[in-house]
């Protein structure tokens, strides 16, 4: 097949949300560049990151939308939830307020994504255990009550960062396999290989690879 230089079968759209300063952009950088950025500037609107991972032998491109946490951008970032296959909801274990706002973030996520969107709760800054303000147990309970996946992670040390992104992808992939996620729906957040919009090219017939039928 002439699929160009693309050597992956799917694109998953992720969105990272949570209060300002919880370390969303740092988590992204740790995941994409395996580096910790000490002074990450405030995100304006949304920034992007990509990485190709492998799940069950399938190469998947993660297209990660790292949203601004500042309240003033809330209306703007709400426009970006649509079509996310995975949502990483981040709070800071050393700041209780960021944990308290989770229900508001969760409401947005539920309202603005589709039911099959995988929501993963991340308690960031687990390296700062001495300043802990939110216990693992209560966060775990919150996650369980709301059917979220959950880990505590550290963008600084990299602990559990990989896991959070990969586990989300596995869950999404499982949804595809189980037929819970309709790839043809525009909002699924999953694409078969990239489309090239904006240019009237003779579109090749849709690739049928990995079709579960």
């Amino acid at each position: 097949m002439t699929s160009g230089p693309y050597n992956y079968s799917y694109i998953f759209k992720y969105i990272i949300i949570g209060d300002m300063g919880v370390g969303k952009s740092c988590l992204l950088h740790q995941f994409t560049d395996k580096k910790f950025m000490a002074d990450c500037p405030h995100t304006i609107g949304v920034e992007f990151g990509t990485r190709i991972i492998e799940v069950a032998g399938q190469k998947i491109k993660l297209q990660i939308w790292d949203t601004a946490g500042q309240e003033r951008f809330r209306a703007v970032t709400r426009s970006y939830y649509r079509g996310a296959a995975g949502a990483l909801m981040v709070y800071d274990i050393t700041r209780r307020s960021t944990y308290n706002h989770l229900s508001s973030w969760l409401t947005d996520t539920r309202n603005l994504t589709n039911p099959s969107t995988v929501i993963f709760l991340i308690g960031n800054k687990s390296d700062l255990d001495g300043q802990r303000d939110v216990t693992y147990e209560e966060a775990k309970q919150f996650a369980d009550e709301n059917g979220l996946m959950f880990v505590e992670a550290s963008a600084k040390t990299g602990q559990n960062v990989e896991e959070a992104f990969l586990e989300t992808a596995k869950k999404i992939y499982q949804s595809i396999q189980d037929g819970r996620l309709d790839l043809n729906a525009a909002e699924s957040g999953v694409q078969h290989k990239p489309a090239s919009p904006g240019r009237p090219l003779a579109a090749p017939p849709a690739a049928r690879d990995n079709c579960t039928c």
Partner: protein, 577 residues
């Protein structure tokens, strides 16, 4: 579920079936059994599948025998198809012997899901007997020599008629495919079809994975030779064989004197055990069965005159499958060639690069914002009385007019300021254009990219190949465009959170910025084409090709930039209402 490969094979198979089914209808119009409902549906779909398959792009070089690139699967099918009549042959003598119930029992005991299997057996017998009644006398009375000559003549005719140039082998293959397929299909029922497809799959897999298909050229030559020499002998053997069958109808393995009988019973077994035995039988089996099928078809129809007439092969004006296939193949090849040239010309894929530089995702995000804001504007308008709504509409229109791109006038292309580098001049232009926007837009990436391009052009080896320049050109255009789209996206986001809006200024600023950016794109394109022209290469045509493509991609870049600008329009508009 079948693998996609075998699915392909099957679809191609069924496509043929459809074409021939029409013939079959014609043929059976006077007979006493009706068309099977299951078979009569979904014809067009299958045909389209066939077409799709044939036209599937294949990047292969032409070597004179490339016919077989596409024909190969068909030939495999020929062999697969040729199995169909064979079990029928096996059944027939058994039926005569009244041993069919036993055969049924055997089948049932092996696989109860195969009840359909019995039906086709019976149908076969009927049709075969019918055929037998009409054909036997002719066969017996006909002179052996005559038959021999006929066959030879027909084979030659087939060969010369079926392809213009390169292979009578291919012609033979297709015609025999058609004939055998017809024979199979004439007697087929739904059950048989299922069975066939299972067998086809099995064989396709075997052929693909194990044995390795023989050179079609070789195969064809061999076939033809043997058809010439062995036809009379086979005619001789035929009654013996039937007799032998009658003598020992249940024999698992016949002795060497009746090779076809043994092969045929092998086939039946193979069918009963869903294909595992083929590996043992090997390709020789398939080949021989194919030949045998041809002979059986010619039995009572010397020269295949009747069957050819039935298929409409003799009438030149009617489209025939082989013709259609050939045309489709030629068309596909032509398309391949064009595509190949295109790919050669632009091995560097602009869209992919644009995506890699995050242009696509910024455009997508901008589009989402744009749509969201448009909805908000509409929502606001809904709640208003008609008069106010009209006011707002006018305001929106005014903003849109402010954002119309000015007519191109190259006169105001003031020469770069003295003592300022090109990138700095570019930066200043962008700053000037957007100073009324009221936002702190970041142009450094664009400026840096420009600097890099200029450095590269200056420092690069004068002997650098045109391909390298071209690659760099497309990549630079894609990167610059992606960075420009990013600026629009950021501007849109910041405008939406801007406390105090001044729509007219903003609209003007963004329009000017768009002018600067699109001019910058042309500048980049010009720089690279100049570089290409400076290369001393004997391949002038290739260079011209590259230059054309660079301007094409530059046009593409400008389109992206103007699209981004248009997407930002509602964000400007909402500030005014």
């Amino acid at each position: 579920m079948p693998s996609s490969d075998s699915e392909d094979f099957e679809s191609a198979d069924e496509g043929q079936t459809h074409t021939e089914r029409k013939e079959r209808k014609k043929r059976l119009s006077s007979s006493n059994y009706s068309e099977n409902a299951l078979e009569s549906d979904s014809g067009p779909k299958e045909t389209s599948t066939l077409t799709g398959k044939v036209e599937k792009p294949k990047a292969k070089t032409t070597d004179g025998w490339d016919d077989f690139d596409i024909d190969n699967p068909e030939e495999s099918n020929t062999e697969v198809k040729s199995k169909e009549p064979s079990p029928k042959e096996e059944k027939q003598p058994k039926a005569k012997e009244e041993t069919q119930p036993k055969a049924k029992e055997n089948v049932k005991s092996q696989d109860t899901g195969w009840d359909d299997f019995d039906d086709w057996g019976q149908d076969d017998v009927i049709s075969k007997n019918e055929m037998e009644q009409t054909s036997k006398p002719v066969n017996q009375s006909s002179n052996q020599q005559q038959t021999d000559r006929d066959i030879k003549e027909v084979t030659d005719r087939l060969a010369s008629a079926s392809t213009k140039g390169n292979s009578w082998g291919w012609g033979w293959g297709v015609d025999s495919l058609l004939s055998t397929a017809t024979a199979g299909i004439t007697t087929a029922t739904a059950g048989f079809t299922t069975l066939t497809s299972q067998v086809s799959q099995g064989i396709s897999t075997v052929l693909e994975s194990g044995i390795g298909a023989p050179d079609p050229e070789e195969l064809a030559r061999k076939n033809n030779k043997e058809a010439d020499t062995s036809a009379p002998k086979v005619e001789d053997t035929k009654p013996d064989e039937v007799k032998a069958k009658e003598d020992q109808p249940n024999a698992g393995a016949n002795d060497g004197a009746f090779p076809f009988g043994s092969l045929l019973s092998g086939v039946t077994k193979f069918v009963e055990t869903t294909g595992t035995k083929v590996i043992a039988g090997g390709l020789d089996t398939l080949e021989t069965i194919g030949k045998k099928t041809m002979e059986v078809l010619q039995d009572g129809d010397p020269g295949l005159a009747k069957k050819r007439a039935m298929l409409g092969l003799d009438s030149g004006d009617k489209p025939v499958l082989s013709q259609i296939l050939r045309e489709a193949k030629a068309k596909a090849e032509e398309e391949d060639k064009v595509r190949e040239e295109k790919r050669e010309a632009k091995e560097v894929h602009y869209e992919n690069l644009f995506d890699d530089f995050e242009g696509l995702v910024h455009l997508e995000a901008l589009e989402m914002l744009s749509r969201q804001v448009t909805m908000r504007i509409e929502e606001r308008m809904r709640g208003l009385d008609p008069e106010k709504r009209q006011d707002i509409k006018e305001t929106l229109q005014q903003v849109a007019e402010l954002c119309e791109m000015p007519e191109e006038d190259d006169e105001d292309d003031e020469p770069p300021s003295e003592g300022m580098s090109k990138p700095d001049a570019f930066h200043e232009k962008l700053q000037t254009a957007t100073q009324d926007l009221g936002l702190k837009l970041v142009f450094q990436p664009l400026v840096k990219q420009y600097t890099d391009v200029l450095d590269w052009l200056d420092s690069s080896d004068p002997d650098i190949g045109e391909k390298a320049v071209y690659k760099r050109a497309v990549s630079s255009l894609a990167q610059c465009t992606a960075l420009a789209v990013l600026v629009y996206h950021k501007a849109a986001e910041m405008l939406l959170v801007k406390p105090r809006r001044s729509t007219a200024d903003e609209a003007d600023a963004l329009t000017q910025m768009t002018v600067v950016l699109t001019k910058h794109i042309s500048e980049l394109a010009t720089l690279f084409t100049e570089k290409l022209n400076s290369i001393s290469s004997e391949n002038k045509e290739q260079i011209n090709n590259h230059i054309t493509n660079i301007f094409l991609e530059a046009g593409n870049s400008s389109t992206y930039i103007q699209n981004a600008f248009q997407l930002a329009l509602p964000i400007l508009q909402i500030g005014a209402v």
